[in-house]
Point group: C2
Chain length 496, copies 2
């Protein structure tokens, strides 16, 4: 009952947020901020309450004999986890974080505009101080022993700093030689069939068809436009994705939509009987990202899907694609090239962008570098890992909103997602020898079902490390590295 | 603070509702019902609380010297009114009404399908019983002395049965001779330029332009499609309207949109400084309807607007409108003809449809007729007032959802709206001799501003009778009757 209310408030919040980014009239911003503030407050009050604590205590006895992975035991366990975390952080601190990071985001936007890191610096410092205070509240909770543990736990429940650090080091050491060996000097302006003139209305029809081909429940999803593509699950039977259209470049709309469709496939694969409970969610942001990346990169940029896609492209945009081979398109969407901007990076170099952020973030949080030294450190790592000179902070250390939003620890989930996707992909290929042929003929249900059985149906029962252990044994960056190495080799052989 | 929360929950509810009718994936119905139930419950709990009562008591003293119409005094007065009404009705009764009317609506939909009044009858009886119990809770509140008073008060705060009854009788007595004198025998299938083939996309563009020409704040509204057109104010700076497109008939989309735009003009005219308070609303449903009707019928079906509109129609649909005169279009959109279905009725006969419902509703509520006698009584009144034989209950007594939804007293607001609109129109014409010329040249701001100054800016400070007294002196059906008589005469002269 009480948990259902908390879930319903979460749904209302998700709708207010979706609407804000897709439908809301521009003049409603102030009202919307109030509305979302109120719903968040009411939700928090109901979660961080003694009454809920008593309910959980009472339920604990009832599920004492239930198996660990049963719905009942999981519900009590996960509710207690959410409740205890909510109780540990004083409402005043939460409110101060909300105010401070809101100001910091405005300051960041201006600072980025003028490439003026110094103007952002005091806000970053303040964010770090508050983050420190937040993390202190969680010390001792389930083995949280350092600041970064607490931050990570928000996005990757149960994951600890050492586990992420190990992945980070292995990724860095595996990727740096691969990236260093790339045929350099590309200026990103070679011929590409995806660049040209693509009327948005026809792009929208294409993307709508591509998403509809994925095994999303009929009448259970919708696709809209937004400035930044995103996916959200409003509630059971209601997932929504957006994409962004660039009339001069078809790639953005298509692969953003496939990425978001991956999130939606996870969302629609959660068991309906868990709806309106705290179990009705993905394991973690990393697991969620593993699905968007798996569908975007392993499926969407793979040879079989490109073969399937090109017939759609030839039909919808014959003038551009009549003479383009699947081979050429494959090379085009997979060409690795070191670049400045994370969100525009290719699949191979992307993880080095993340590695750089993780190293800096950890160093800042652990006091190894001063916030003031950040631009210099950033530029040095871009030079060292990607061989790129950063011309100014606007396209350097100021490019991402995360730290301005007080979001530390989040970047790791992008790489964890890629690592997990790599492992899942090797695993599903072992189980299903026909996977390539299925994808090449637009048959996605076998893959979706495999993922559903192994991952989606478990919903939020387990922490991230628990799910990793059950699903993968342990985190292993090698499948991702093998996947990227193979891509680099293939693209080079096509281009040669 | 507390009132702001209640308002924000109302906004969230409005968005959930808007989304349900415009955007929501079909499979989300069950989730959405839960979400809306929770938000309604939380809102009610915060309203019907001793804590709010104490806050209001405390505020009462502070505003003792403030003028009646001041924001402070009005806020306390209206909050106390809302609070006392909420406190008087036990939550159990509200829940029972919600359950019962939900079942009744399903039964009604099936009964209407099969024209089976007997199947609906027990549900109607149950609705009436619960309505009676609800009304008992409000006896004595601000002079509520009979059941219908209590029902009316929900939609028309402060309005009492005798006032509505007087309007009803005057309307009936004025309209019956007018309708009886109509050139009968029309089968509604005469030539009409609005019937034909109108691609929905081009209709949508036309309607978008027409609505944008009204003085709605830029970036503060949006127009969408829905099965039943509606308008809603989500919050300050955020009004939304919908319309419905019939590819074979242009009239539906255009005049539904103008009707809803009228509601939106009222919504956007509320003073922003009252946002997130219970004053941020229209006076009543009758006043709200006076605005939709005024814009739809007095403006939208008037000669000046038709002259303005026809140039748009000729531009967008030249094949249909090149040879149509403004005169012909005027006659076409104003041709009165008795018909079976309220929502399809013309402006002249419409109020007789309402009169019939009000007479029957009052008689049922006051025990003068048995629910079982309803079909017979309905058919007799249609024969007597409109000269029409009702072939079956599906297009007769079962045509409207209101009584199935437990909504008694609501119908009166449609006619009150028409009466008020008639009075406002005569009044604005006295003040503004250029009104016709302004409308004919697409200049709507002077009218909107007149309404804003006299009505919109008062928001929800006054009860319906208070606003009537301040704005109109008293209710007077004669302006509406004069308006309708003139239309009938003009249309006949065009057709002759």
């Amino acid at each position: 009952m009480r948990l259902g209310e908390i879930a319903d408030l979460g749904s209302a919040q998700a709708l207010l947020d979706w609407d804000q980014h897709t439908m809301m009239p521009a003049t409603a911003s102030a009202s919307r901020a109030d509305q979302m503030g109120t719903i968040a407050l009411l939700q928090h009050q109901r979660l961080a309450s003694d009454a809920l604590g008593r309910l959980i205590d009472a339920a604990q006895g009832e599920v004492a004999d239930a198996p660990y992975e049963s719905d009942e035991a999981s519900l009590v366990r996960v509710s207690r986890r959410d409740w205890e975390k909510a109780m540990r952080v004083p409402p005043d601190l939460r409110a101060e974080i909300a105010r401070t990071t809101s100001l910091a985001q405005h300051a960041w936007a201006e600072a980025r505009e003028r490439s003026d890191f110094a103007a952002f610096l005091p806000h970053l410092r303040r964010n770090l101080e508050l983050t420190e205070r937040y993390a202190e509240c969680l010390q001792g909770f389930e083995g949280i022993a350092r600041t970064y543990d607490a931050l990570l736990d928000e996005y990757e429940p149960g994951m600890r700093t050492e586990q992420v650090k190990a992945v980070l080091v292995q990724l860095r050491d595996g990727l740096r030689p691969l990236v260093a060996g790339l045929a350099g000097g590309g200026d990103g302006e070679g011929w590409s069939p995806l660049h040209g003139s693509f009327p948005v209305e026809r792009q929208r029809e294409l993307v709508g068809q591509l998403v509809a081909e994925f095994p999303l429940p009929e009448g259970g999803w919708r696709l809209d436009d937004s400035v930044h593509p995103f996916a959200t699950s409003i509630g059971s039977g209601d997932v929504r994705l957006t994409t962004r259209y660039d009339a001069a470049y078809l790639g953005t709309a298509v692969w953003s939509a496939i990425h978001e469709a991956g999130h939606c496939l996870y969302g629609t694969g959660l068991p309906a009987e868990l709806r309106r409970t705290p179990l009705y969610r993905s394991v973690s942001l990393g697991f969620d990202e593993s699905q968007s990346r798996l569908w975007e990169n392993w499926v969407g940029r793979g040879r079989p899907y490109i073969a399937w896609l090109i017939s759609h492209l030839r039909e919808r945009f014959p003038e551009q694609f009549a003479d383009v081979s699947a081979q050429q398109l494959y090379a085009d969407v997979n060409r690795p090239e070191p670049s400045l901007i994370r969100v525009e990076a290719d699949e191979v170099t992307y993880n080095l962008h993340i590695v750089i952020r993780l190293e800096l973030e950890l160093a800042m949080i652990e006091g190894e570098i001063e916030p003031a030294e950040l631009p210099e450190a950033w530029n040095a790592l871009y030079r060292e890992y990607l061989g790129i000179e950063v011309p100014n902070d606007s396209v350097g250390v100021l490019q991402d909103i995360h730290w301005a939003a007080g979001v530390f620890g989040y970047f790791s989930t992008y790489s964890l997602g890629n690592v997990i996707a790599g492992q899942l992909w090797e695993s599903v290929r072992e189980d299903n020898a026909d996977l390539d042929a299925q994808i090449a003929s637009g048959e996605f249900e076998p893959l979706a079902d495999w993922l559903r059985q192994r991952l989606y149906r478990h919903a939020g029962r387990f922490t991230s490390p628990e799910m990793i252990e059950r699903l993968l044994g342990e985190l292993d960056v090698r499948p991702l590295l093998r996947h990227l190495e193979a891509k680099v080799a293939e693209v080079e052989s096509v281009s040669a």
